[in-house]
């Protein structure tokens, strides 16, 4: 019975349902309202975009820790350029994304060409980008973005600002690419075993490089959304989103499939978001500590639940061993207790 319900693979969904029911009952006048719904959705769009940015290179076994810094960088570049009036805000935004692409390209160069561990390369890139952001922030930046620019992202459709739909579009595109195209298959192969993938003709270097560029640009887009949402420039807001985003990706990797995936990430993110909101409503004041506590505990609990079954397969860098000759094939169907076997995708 327990197995049928698949608590390991759908723990976030069960958790989500539990929150809806529990807080729906205890906080009946506030929790299940349009205002709360809107608030939770909007508040988590940036984290969602950052999480998806982190997810893309993770499928190739590459960690991009610079996603938070990329968000800040795109924000500072577009704010600087548009406040100096030389270019239109839209062009400034595109240049901001372009700057992120360049940074991603440089990270990729270190990772692919110079064989630097991605963890280290992107950490270094974070620091360099931070220096760039601090330097640029010293120039005068008028903080407000013009209304015409704001409208592109924040004008409501069905009561929700446009950028909510942009997140949905981004998620659909990434899901399609990762799960339904050869490109996605090659990326997961690279993450699973780079050497075997290369021998099978997969251009692993290019995929890793490309995924770092993509993640930088997607993270840069999170900066754009920040501009649309807040309307003002703020210095170094990006890194704050890093942990919740990574937590969502790893929690999400235990959901639906046994590898990092788009919908798992978003489900994990929003399940937690509703829980946090419920707790905040319950404890009304001084609730700033709830969010990290909740994210940390849920991440540990969900990944433990899934790891017990041996199903979370977050790509490891470089070689790792696969099953030995035993157990025999006919035992595979019955999952002998030894093998870390996986439920089928």
């Amino acid at each position: 019975m327990i197995h049928k319900l698949r608590f390991d693979k759908y723990s976030a969904l069960y958790l989500w349902a539990l929150f809806m029911v529990y807080f729906g009952v205890t906080q009946s006048d506030t929790f299940l309202t349009w205002t709360t719904f809107k608030l939770v959705v909007i508040e988590n769009v940036i984290t969602g975009v950052i999480a998806l940015a982190f997810l893309v290179p993770l499928t190739t076994g590459t960690y991009d820790l610079s996603v938070g810094a990329m968000m800040s960088m795109s924000l500072v570049v577009s704010a600087y350029l548009s406040s100096h009036g030389t270019v239109s805000p839209v062009l400034a935004m595109l240049i901001g994304l372009g700057a992120c692409a360049v940074a991603g390209f440089i990270s990729g160069f270190f990772v692919v060409k110079l064989n630097v561990n991605s963890f280290i390369a992107t950490l270094g890139m974070t620091e360099v980008a931070t220096a760039f952001i601090l330097h640029t922030s010293q120039q005068s930046i008028t903080s407000a973005f013009p209304q015409s620019f704001m409208d592109i992202g924040s004008k409501p459709i069905f009561g929700l600002p446009r950028f909510v739909y942009y997140l949905a579009i981004l998620a659909i595109v990434l899901w399609f690419v990762l799960e339904h195209t050869p490109l996605g298959r090659y990326m997961f192969a690279t993450g699973g075993n780079p050497e075997a993938a290369r021998l099978a003709g997969v251009k692993t270097g290019r995929l890793i490089w490309g995924s770092l560029i993509a993640s930088a640009v997607i993270a840069g887009f999170a900066g754009t959304i920040y501009a649309w949402k807040i309307g003002n420039y703020a210095q170094a807001v990006g890194p704050g989103y890093l942990f919740p985003a990574i937590a969502a990706v790893f929690f999400g990797a235990s959901q639906l499939k046994s590898r990092p995936n788009v919908w798992g990430t978003l489900i994990a993110l929003y399940a937690l978001a509703w829980g946090i909101k419920g707790l905040q409503l319950t404890f009304s004041s001084n609730t700033i500590w709830i969010e990290p506590l909740f994210q940390g505990v849920s991440l540990l609990a969900a990944v433990s639940l899934a790891s017990r079954q041996g199903i979370v397969r977050v790509p490891k860098p470089k070689k790792h061993k696969v099953g030995e000759d035993e157990p025999p094939a006919d035992a595979a169907a019955t999952e002998p207790p030894v093998a870390t076997s996986t439920a089928t995708d």
Partner: protein
């Protein structure tokens, strides 16, 4: 000789499967006792029960060491009885030295303030290795930098160090699986050395030659049942194979040569790695074998041709088109398919299932209207599973849940579905059981019969004899001898390999 270990009525069932069925085993004091059987025959399960990893089924299972009862499935009891294990992957930590690896097992000797007494540790390690007749190992170098035979020796030394209860039984699980040929001899010397000291060895192996060279007695398991325990000197090779497989395998089939036309693969002056100038031609339908001791260039030729290793020099022509230094994808593009050695590291992608592994090379084939068609992919995967009789619970089973032989078949399917002109096979049956080996040999025959030009590099001379129309023996990075037709025999290949090695040194 007295009896050292006796196991009786051992049952072990996994959900839906009986792994061991009333198995018994007797090992005498001071003997090398081989344990053989195909994958899935239960030998690994037996070892895992002995070392306490698995619990036996409740029931009649009983065991004695030197007449004293032993609780099966209890690792500490086994250790206390003096049974030690060296598992297939050795379990060493590669980045630290032999001294540190041995201390991991038994703990460090410490002096004042908890300081490790390094000099004592080094001395102890040296002594342990000298006890194996191997005093010349660099005990301070990271273990990963040692040659494979020395690594195995370190693992054995670790198993034997701190043996306070007296030597009794050392279990070696596939110790030669990753050892190159001449290192195997060195390992055998170590084993003989141990036997001379009165230690019994339980030796698990796929390599029947080793059984004949080393073992006093052999126990054969098949489908979880004990077939028999016999004196090795009363057996011959084909009799043992028959016991293992349960029926007669014709090992003498020599493939018919059907060489026609122009060579589809032509290699001139190939250089790189250990290869220093190799010329080769392979014709459609031909199976050419590459033999040679480790370091002869045999291990690098296929990597160079497939584009995995950068070439220093030389020319590779596939079906008339020259290809310069290229990457694996260019090789595939040109019509080559490569099944590399070291399946677990270089072949399968452990995070993916059977379907994804099988279709990886040309997954773009399944694109319909811009997206991967699951239906088309499933249909083709099922075909290949059937065609290669791959034993799996389904297309979505994780690749790691398959036995080694079946994983290898998946990799063959992955190569064959490209319908390559040239098939490159490196150690095609490394570490897989004899039944799956036979099936893979048939697949290679069929591939050649359909017109593929096949190049097989193997350390298994019998395999080359079984498969090849022509065998190229390498030494010192060059072609030393080519054997054709009647000249092909195990003795001749081994003779040529050793001859060239001797001449080289």
């Amino acid at each position: 000789m007295g009896e050292l270990l006796r196991i009786e009525h051992l049952w072990k069932t996994f959900p839906g499967q009986v792994a061991l069925c009333d198995v018994g085993l007797e090992v005498d004091a001071g003997e090398v006792h081989a344990l053989v059987g195909q994958n899935g025959s239960g030998k690994s399960t037996l070892i895992k029960v002995l070392c306490g990893y698995h619990q036996p089924d409740a029931g009649d299972a009983q065991a004695w060491v030197k007449g004293e009862p032993l609780t099966l499935g209890d690792g500490q009891a086994a250790a206390a009885a003096g049974i030690r294990f060296v598992h297939q992957d050795l379990g060493l930590v590669g980045s630290i030295s032999a001294v540190e690896n041995i201390a991991l097992g038994v703990g460090y000797e410490t002096g004042r303030f908890g300081r490790i007494r390094w000099r004592q540790e080094v001395k102890r390690t040296r002594a342990a290795l000298e006890g194996l007749g191997l005093g010349n190992i660099d005990v301070k170098a990271p273990v990963s930098s040692l040659p494979p035979a020395q690594r195995t020796a370190v693992a054995i030394a670790r198993a034997l160090t701190g043996w306070q209860y007296g030597a009794s039984l050392l279990v070696l699980d596939e110790p030669t699986a990753t050892l190159p040929g001449d290192d195997v001899e060195r390992l055998f010397e170590v084993i003989q050395h141990l036997r001379a000291q009165g230690i019994s060895i339980l030796y698990v192996s796929h390599h029947l030659d080793e059984v004949f060279e080393l073992a006093d007695r052999v126990t054969v398991l098949r489908d979880g049942k004990k077939v028999d325990t016999m004196l090795v000197r009363e057996l011959d090779h084909s009799k043992l194979v028959e016991l293992i497989v349960g029926h007669h395998i014709d090992t003498t089939t020599v493939s018919e040569s059907s060489v026609t036309g122009r060579p589809v693969l032509s290699v001139r002056g190939l250089e790189g790695g250990t290869v220093r100038g190799v010329d080769l031609d392979v014709y459609p339908g031909e199976i050419v074998g590459l033999a040679g001791i480790t370091g002869s260039g045999r291990e690098d030729v296929l990597d160079l041709i497939a584009g995995q290793m950068p070439r220093d020099d030389g020319e590779v022509v596939v079906d008339g088109s020259h290809i310069d230094n290229y990457q694996p994808w260019d090789g595939i593009e040109a019509g080559m398919a490569f099944v590399p050695a070291e399946r677990a590291v270089r072949g399968v992608i452990g995070t993916m299932n059977v379907r994804e592994n099988l279709s990886l090379c040309d997954v773009a084939r399944f694109v319909r209207a811009g997206r991967l068609s699951r239906r088309a992919e499933l249909a083709e995967t099922k075909q290949w599973i059937e065609r290669l009789s791959i034993k799996t619970s389904g297309t979505e089973a994780p690749i790691g849940s398959l036995s080694g032989g079946n994983q290898q078949k998946v990799l063959f399917g992955k190569a064959l579905r490209l319908a390559p002109k040239v098939l490159l096979l490196d150690e095609p049956t490394q570490g897989i059981d004899i039944g799956a080996k036979d099936q893979i040999h048939r697949l290679i025959d069929e591939a050649a019969a359909s017109g593929m030009a096949t190049l097989v590099a193997s350390t298994d001379t019998d395999e080359l004899v079984r498969l090849c129309h022509r065998i190229v023996v390498l030494a010192n990075g060059r072609v030393r001898t080519t054997l054709v037709g009647d000249q092909i025999s195990t003795e001749r290949i081994e003779h040529a390999q050793l001859e060239s090695a001797r001449r080289a040194s």
